[in-house]
């Protein structure tokens, strides 16, 4: 019988520092065992538990897209004991990983629809996965609009890719920072405000929101105001998931376990869950 508590072995293939303060780092991991790679199927929005043996595990959204076959990508913000140790990893180090866990963004339902992606800060990880996934089957989707906000220009992750995305004419990519900075040519203002400004209409459109709790809290009402029905607004919740398989009870809110019923929830579902946003 498969033992869901045993981590797979992964090798650190590439490390990239995302910000000048070096609190955000992106890791590309490859499977040590080829057979495990074959069995590992995921979709944008899912997460993994990454293990530092001796320290413990933490959950991270998968930032790579399933269409990127060679590696799994994670971006790690250094906040606690496990993430601190992850930041000490070097290329070639072996770490543990369990997953894919949780559900995913409704990529099938999005087909033939306009897609609005709203993200904030370093929570852009699973949104990157989603965006790459959509772009790799670009013809399946109609207009794609991305709004990505951060406190200041340094705190955007995947800056090189952002530059490329902004050049593309088949997506509308809007960057915004909280307060004006010299030399900044993109938008200034909080994500909810920018969303109000540049969001496409709600007709035949799906909105995906992921970011810090406060951003989600103030963006969801804007989407409602713009006319998006609750069934077509999705967000990803974060809690201190531990087992990832609906047993340990840490991420229980209402009758749901974020690790298996989520982390992706529609606004319609959220309305029936207490303690969410």
């Amino acid at each position: 019988m498969a033992n869901p508590y045993i981590p797979l072995q992964m090798k650190v293939q590439r490390i990239e520092t995302e910000d000048p303060d070096r609190t955000l780092r992106t890791y590309d991991l490859t499977f040590v065992n080829e057979s495990e790679k074959e069995a590992f199927n995921y979709l944008p929005g899912q997460f993994c538990e990454i293990s530092i043996l001796g320290k413990g595990e933490s959950p991270f959204g998968i930032a790579s897209s399933p269409t990127e076959k060679d590696y799994l990508r994670f971006t790690v913000n250094r906040t606690g004991s496990v993430t601190n140790d992850i930041h000490y990893l070097r290329n070639g180090d072996i770490i543990g990983m369990r997953g894919p866990l949780g559900n995913w963004y409704p990529v099938d339902d999005m087909k033939g629809m306009n897609v609005l992606i709203v993200g904030g800060g370093f929570a852009f990880t699973t949104l990157r996965s989603l965006l790459i996934y959509l772009l790799d089957s670009r013809d399946d989707y109609k207009d794609i609009t991305v709004i990505y906000g951060a406190r200041n220009p340094d705190l955007f992750i995947y800056k090189d890719e952002i530059a490329i995305w902004k050049q593309r004419d088949d997506i509308q990519f809007h960057l915004t920072i909280d307060n004006p900075v010299d030399g900044w040519t993109d938008k200034t203002g909080f994500v909810p405000t920018v969303t109000k400004e540049v969001s496409p209409g709600p007709d035949n459109a799906m909105a995906i929101v992921c970011g810090p709790p406060v951003m989600i809290k103030y963006t969801l009402p804007v989407l409602t105001e713009l006319g998006f029905p609750d069934e077509r607004i999705y967000t990803s919740l974060e809690r201190r998931m531990k087992c990832g398989i609906g047993k340990c009870g840490r991420c229980n809110i209402g009758s749901k376990y974020i690790c298996i019923d989520g982390p992706v929830f529609s606004m319609a579902e959220l309305k029936n869950i207490p303690e969410t946003v």
Partner: protein
């Protein structure tokens, strides 16, 4: 034995609330089980009659000042205190957790509180359905039995060794407060423990801490345990393991024991709360005795004093500092 007159207690509470001297009163009321009173929080004088004080009122209510990060910080609070509870209020005042000016301490004459495990030992584990407190004796009634026993047989170990049954610091006292009460059993349990061989002491200690299930009831009912994040809950770095293995449990208890050195008021709430009946007070009391011997300090006795562990006297031997 001069027991409390419940009318005097409710009258005092009623007055405090009616005259708006307090916003809230914390006391005890009759619980849902015959052996346990339960904490009472009242804001209206009409509820004052619910307050009781008897052998079942074991909780040290001063813990509620530090719960939820000083939840009553902006309130005037009246609180019923036994001798030990009053020492907690004093200690927490000295440690700046309580603003004494916002607290009205109502002392109650204490003749000791019961320890459930001692009661159940008397009834051979049979359920007690009714308890009658007659003062010197207590009547226990259950299905098919009625027992009359001496009060001292079921008192908490903390009470058997108590020398300050009544509040030494308080604003109102219901009855006549006793000053220090001589107690020949003050150090009995500690001396007995000290008389054992090292091996025996180790064996006893192991046997006790092996029972721990790490529920932290002892910590959470302790008025001196109010750290925002307890050392057992810290994970960066993680100081100790959290399993119920003996080594992990013992380290938890020993560190807690040292954290409350000079701060333990010997109320015994920890021991009574323990669902596994661990003898938690013995080491705490041993350390309290050491603090008394070395520094002359009894935790929470002097509102104008300084807790032993934050005080420094020039004539101290201080060998632990100077090496």
């Amino acid at each position: 034995m001069k027991m409390i007159n419940p009318d005097d207690l409710s009258k005092a509470i009623k007055e405090l609330l009616t005259e708006k001297k307090i916003d809230l009163f914390i006391g005890w009321e009759k619980g849902s089980l015959p052996l346990s009173a339960t904490p009472l929080f009242i804001t209206s004088e009409d509820e004052a009659e619910r307050a009781v004080f008897d052998i079942t009122c074991g909780n040290n209510l001063s813990i509620y000042f530090t719960k939820d990060r000083k939840q009553f910080a902006d309130k005037k609070v009246g609180i019923a205190v036994k001798g030990c509870d009053a020492r907690s209020v004093v200690l927490n005042t000295l440690e700046k957790q309580i603003d004494r000016a916002n607290v009205v301490m109502v002392g109650v004459p204490c003749h000791g509180v019961l320890d459930k495990k001692k009661v159940l030992a008397k009834t051979d584990g049979r359920e007690v359905l009714e308890l009658i407190d007659n003062g010197d004796t207590v009547t226990l009634i259950g299905k098919g039995y009625e027992l009359s026993i001496d009060r001292s047989e079921i008192l908490s170990s903390s009470c058997l060794a108590c020398i300050y049954p009544d509040a030494q610091e308080c604003d109102i006292f219901i009855g006549d407060a006793r000053a220090e009460v001589p107690n020949e059993n003050r150090l009995k349990e500690i001396k007995e423990f000290e008389a054992l061989s090292t091996e025996e002491r180790w064996a006893n200690t192991c046997a006790e801490y092996e029972k721990c299930i790490r529920c932290y009831a002892c910590r959470n009912v302790c008025p001196s345990c109010y750290c925002n994040v307890c050392f057992v809950d810290q994970n960066d770095p993680g100081w100790i393991g959290n399993t119920c293995e003996f080594t992990d449990s013992m380290i938890f208890h020993v560190i807690r024991n040292l954290h409350v050195a000079g701060r333990c008021v010997e109320c015994g709430a920890c021991e009574r709360a323990c669902p596994m009946d661990i003898n938690l007070l013995l080491l705490n009391r041993k350390v309290a005795m050491e603090v008394k011997d070395r520094f002359g300090d009894i935790a929470g006795l002097d509102i104008n004093g300084k807790p032993a562990m934050v005080d420094f006297k020039e004539d101290e031997k201080q060998d632990f500092i100077m090496g």
